[in-house]
Symmetry: C2
Subunit: 240 residues, 2 copies
DNA sequence: CGGATCTTTGAGCGGGGTCAAATTAGGTGG
DNA sequence: CCACCTAATTTGACCCCGCTCAAAGATCCG
């Protein structure tokens, strides 16, 4: 146990647990009965889609890790989330002709491309799919609002603690270790997401390590005291 | 022209323009063909729904003004948005049994209650409705992300400028004056929404007034120089 | 091996938070 | 209608958390 995630592999090795068979929010086999689902590979650093590109599909992450970035006309940029297996991307562009944000792979990733008008048609025919899709959109809203609460009410170090716990719980749901993992993003991305500067994130991590709540070495993180971390983050988040 | 919004009336007087007939995102007459839509009145200060209450309907604001608040288990609170005529509330609870946030009326309001399972059924029968609903959810995500960008990248005064411009443009879409309006919420609510303290909002407003970009007296606001305000907010937001 | 990028850490500063007080508006009951 | 009370807003004074600027490793790439 306690081996970190294999860094940057397409097969996303799963050493200790077996939860990969749990269905993602959207049932891919059901979807394939209604539309042509194409697999896409996106290399680390490449865009899955960019601000301004025509919107014609939703994307389900099958493997890998991505970030989404909101952009302003005057060049400001904000990481709005990190996406992994089972997460649905592109939903924010529903109802528009073009995407309004970027999705960038942070490691080599595999994506299922769900062509958009067909998704809607499938939902019309299969009520269960419609429920899944609207639930996924609603879940996205809840996630965003939950981070607004965190960012609006917690100081830097506690935001970082909340971030680590969130990541851990999501990894755990996918069957990976919640206590030992590799960050796929740099300090600057974490900082942007948490509305901080990268130096502040670095210092927060160092301090959490000094408190012996975690251990950090570059991108390798171990959570040593999840209860204390949780108390620190304000939300007694349950992991596993 | 330039009369402020009539403060706290159910009929929401509309002195200068006539845009009330423009259809809200969801067509209420179409909905009424498929379900029992009940009108609700919510007095200022009352909850439309609260965290923990069973979720059984979406709510379309017909008149009035409300805020939504995200809550944490340890008592922190964050205003996540201000809602007015045409806005859909409760969407964040889709897929759940209970609401996970509060919706509070800031003035006496009229609400159309759309019972939830029937809404889904109507969407199955009327593709146009399904498109409207998923677009409304997606729009909500875009709004939230846009505020994440603002809060994550702009200093206090510019957040306040962005807030005023956003409010102005939404009022303009409803046919009210964008240059002269009454704030329905207190400084503390604005502050929470913008991840600031109420004293900071107060100071920012005073300073914007000193710059002669706006004039403020308690809750009455006039936008004197929208181009400069927009430049200040980073986003050349177009109003009207 | 050399250069670019990422991360850490330090030193110093400043924007926004905290605490406090004054002012004003608004609501209520006499 | 007014006196009183409560709540909202403004403003000042001070301080501190997080930002800025800078430099020194560390890691990864060709």
């Amino acid at each position: 146990m306690d081996t970190p995630l294999a860094p940057s592999t397409l097969e996303m090795s799963n050493p200790q647990q077996t939860a990969l068979e749990q269905p993602p929010e959207l049932d891919i086999e059901e979807l394939q009965r209604h539309m042509v689902v194409t697999r896409r590979k996106v290399a680390a650093g490449q865009y899955l889609y960019r601000n301004g590109q025509p919107f014609h599909a939703l994307y389900l992450v099958h493997a890998g890790f991505l970030k989404t970035c909101e952009l302003s006309e005057d060049g400001r940029e904000q990481v709005t989330g990190f996406r992994m297996r089972g997460d649905l991307l592109g939903v924010e562009s529903i109802g528009l002709a073009v995407h309004t944000c970027d999705a960038v792979a942070l490691e080599d990733s595999q994506i299922w491309e769900l062509p958009y008008p067909p998704v809607l048609n499938a939902c019309l025919q299969v009520p269960e799919l419609q429920i899944r899709l609207s639930s996924a959109l609603a879940e996205e809203i809840r996630r965003d609002r939950s981070w607004m609460l965190t960012i609006g009410t917690l100081p830097a170090e506690q935001r970082v603690a909340a971030f680590l716990l969130d990541l851990a719980s999501r990894l755990a749901r996918l069957g990976f270790s919640a206590r030992h993992f590799i960050l796929r993003m740099g300090r600057a991305d974490i900082a942007s997401f948490l509305a901080l500067k990268h130096e502040t994130v670095s210092r927060a991590l160092s301090h959490l390590e000094q408190l012996e709540y975690i251990s950090v070495l570059r991108r390798e993180v171990k959570l040593l005291d999840i209860p204390k971390l949780s108390a620190c983050a304000g939300t007694p988040r349950t992991i596993q």
